[in-house]
């Protein structure tokens, strides 16, 4: 009898915990989603309601430039779409390059004995903890001299540097778990070394590389300090930076609906990635720091 009641209590406790976690994690997301459907009239007048009184799609039309845009908002959506393009381009290129370099380094760290291995790992750790703001001044100066200021490479290069540590740590932890003997086994069974690599090692290593790529992409997509410091126009300004410049005509009354809509648009890719790959992301995040 006592055990049954304890078991029920545990189940109820877990359920309560489950609901609390869901509410905690999703409430602000639902909040900006709700805000994105509020008309500019409603937010200008001030409305303490959580849900819109009048649902409207006008914010989406204004942000994405579809259909009838509110007069005066044309530049808003042009700038936002430019920023979206920059964000995608910069984040994807930085991710690809960073993952290639990290794969080489992590392979060496996981499989080879060489001098300076600990030094590389310590360097990666030191850079992961580096205060990015400390670089802004000198980098700003240097980038203007090298004509990298306000260009894509000007952001891609530092994003690579700051994502490499995480990618190297995640990948080397992952590579250490791969049964590399299988490569020899395949060769003994008559596969050429290229076949053994492509048919045995690549499928085993791919999930780890992919996980590292997702984490790297998240970093580049989120980065803000360098994005506002090393850009000056929408030629290279990314979404987080563009959002912070979104003031609207009245500085005392920010365009709540437009900002919320833009926020929803840039959160959609994140939600898609999370929905598809949640298991991999969790594995990657935890393997880098604590071996599970």
């Amino acid at each position: 009898m006592a055990t049954t009641s304890r078991a029920t209590r545990n189940v109820v406790g877990t359920w309560v915990g489950f609901v609390i976690i869901l509410v905690w994690c999703l409430l602000p997301v639902v909040w900006i989603l709700s805000l994105s459907f509020k008309g500019s009239g409603e937010t200008a007048a001030g409305s303490p309601h959580f849900l819109p009184q009048d649902w409207t799609l006008q914010n989406y039309r204004d942000i994405l430039g579809i259909g009838s845009v509110t007069p005066g908002q044309e530049t808003t959506n042009n700038d936002f779409l430019d920023a979206l393009r920059n964000s995608f381009g910069i984040a994807i290129i930085a991710t690809l390059l960073s993952v290639v370099f990290a794969t080489l380094a992590a392979y060496a760290i996981a499989r080879l004995e060489f001098k300076g291995k600990r030094l590389v790992l310590s360097l990666a750790l030191a850079i992961a903890m580096f205060p990015v703001v400390a670089l802004v001044g000198p980098l700003f100066d240097l980038w203007r001299t090298l004509h990298l200021f306000n260009t894509w490479p000007g952001l891609i290069i530092p994003y690579m540097s700051f994502t490499l540590p995480l990618a190297i740590w995640t990948l080397s932890a992952f590579f250490r778990e791969i049964p590399w003997e299988m490569e020899q086994a395949a060769q003994v069974d008559g596969a050429t070394s290229w076949q053994a690599f492509r048919k045995v090692i690549v499928p085993l290593a791919a999930p780890g590389v992919f996980t590292a790529a997702i984490l790297t992409f998240f970093f580049a997509w989120n980065e803000f300090v360098l994005a506002i410091s090393l850009t000056s126009t929408t030629d290279s300004r990314t979404v987080p930076a563009q959002l912070s410049f979104f003031v609207g005509p009245d500085p005392f009354n920010p365009p709540y609906g437009l900002l919320a809509t833009a926020s929803v648009v840039v959160t959609v890719p994140i939600i898609i990635i999370v929905l598809l790959f949640q298991r991999k992301i969790v594995a990657g995040l935890t393997s880098g720091a604590v071996k599970g």
Binding site: G46, V120, G137, F218, F224, I228, S229, V290
Partner: protein
């Protein structure tokens, strides 16, 4: 293509069991290959950090404003003197430390509770993982806006929902004074980064052996005793790594403050002060001094945490 070379070239060196007299030759080749493979990553990491840091060290010794570049003159350590005697610098450092200590402490508690639930739960594991990863993946600027609007005087829901609390009324202006504004900033920071903490703790929790817990239960240990005497000591390494990462991350807080208050109501952090000097006021000399100090503080902080809690990262990774 280069990955292929690496795979093919390293294959002969793979079985460590076959160590014969040729080992010196082979290990030399392995040594060379290993160094070549890490070299590109090391170069990229140093390119953007080491060189600008040396540059900052150099510039910090000059009076140098970008608006008047010809007026650059060597002033020795006087920039450091200016910074260290300025009360704003100390106010901002204090803010940063408060934010760091409070957010990490709160996240540790909430994160541990989340990890417990995720560890126990037998249903909807995918749903809970998805939910917890959304704050992790969301852009910090978006989180800052979401919370700024939630706390907003005219359009927020916080005042409406919590006005039954004695210190909250429908016209509480959260961004009108220091502590409420700091509170709002910390809420956004905590919301965004608790998932990271929870996931690291979850990994640590899964390393605690069930047998040991069972044994403690059989011996009559209460839930509380099991938590403090079995679970927490056994996941010490994971807790310390999580604290180290999050503390250093929280110390660099910038995005939330930039979006939510722009430093108004004395809510500036060290990072924000450095940014403002360099980018908005073009004080490259003074800003560089601030950069160097920020860098040294982070270094000191990392050293302190590692020393104080004896964090062994290699051990936490299962390498030792």
């Amino acid at each position: 293509m280069s990955t292929t070379d690496a795979g093919a070239a390293a294959a002969p060196a793979a079985p460590p069991a076959k160590k014969r007299p040729v080992v010196s030759d082979r290990s030399r080749a392995e040594n060379r290959l290993g160094q070549r493979l890490v070299l590109p990553a090391v170069i990229v990491m140093l390119l953007v950090t080491a060189w600008p840091m040396i540059q900052a060290l150099y510039l910090s010794l000059f009076r140098y404003r970008l608006t008047t570049p010809d007026d650059k003159s060597f002033v020795g350590l006087s920039n450091y003197g200016t910074v260290l005697t300025d009360s704003l610098f100390w106010q901002d450092t204090l803010n940063t430390v408060i934010i760091m200590v409070v957010t990490v402490a709160v996240e540790l508690v909430i994160g541990f509770a989340f990890a417990m639930v995720m560890h126990r739960i037998v249903f909807a594991r995918g749903a809970i993982r998805t939910a917890i990863l959304i704050p992790y993946g969301i852009i910090t600027v978006v989180s800052a806006y979401a919370w700024q609007f939630a706390f907003s005087l005219n359009n927020g829901f916080v005042n409406a929902w919590f006005s039954w609390l004695p210190w909250i009324s429908p016209d509480t202006n959260w961004f009108g004074s220091h502590w409420p504004a700091m509170f709002a900033i910390m809420v956004s920071e905590i919301w965004k980064t608790t998932p990271f903490m929870a996931l690291l703790l979850l990994a640590g929790l899964s390393q605690v052996s069930e047998d040991m817990l069972e044994a403690a239960k059989v011996d009559g240990a209460t839930w509380w005793q099991r938590l403090w005497k079995v679970i927490l000591p056994n996941m010490r390494a994971a807790i310390m790594v999580a604290v180290l990462f999050r503390a250093l991350d929280a110390f660099r807080i910038f995005d939330n403050i930039y979006v939510m208050t722009r430093g108004a109501q004395d809510t500036e952090s060290s990072s924000f002060l450095t940014y403002r000097q360099v980018i908005q006021q073009f004080q490259l000399g003074l800003g560089s001094a601030l950069s160097v100090l920020l860098f040294l503080t982070v270094l000191l902080l990392a050293w302190l945490i590692v020393r104080l809690f004896r964090v062994d990262l290699a051990q936490a990774r299962g390498e030792a």
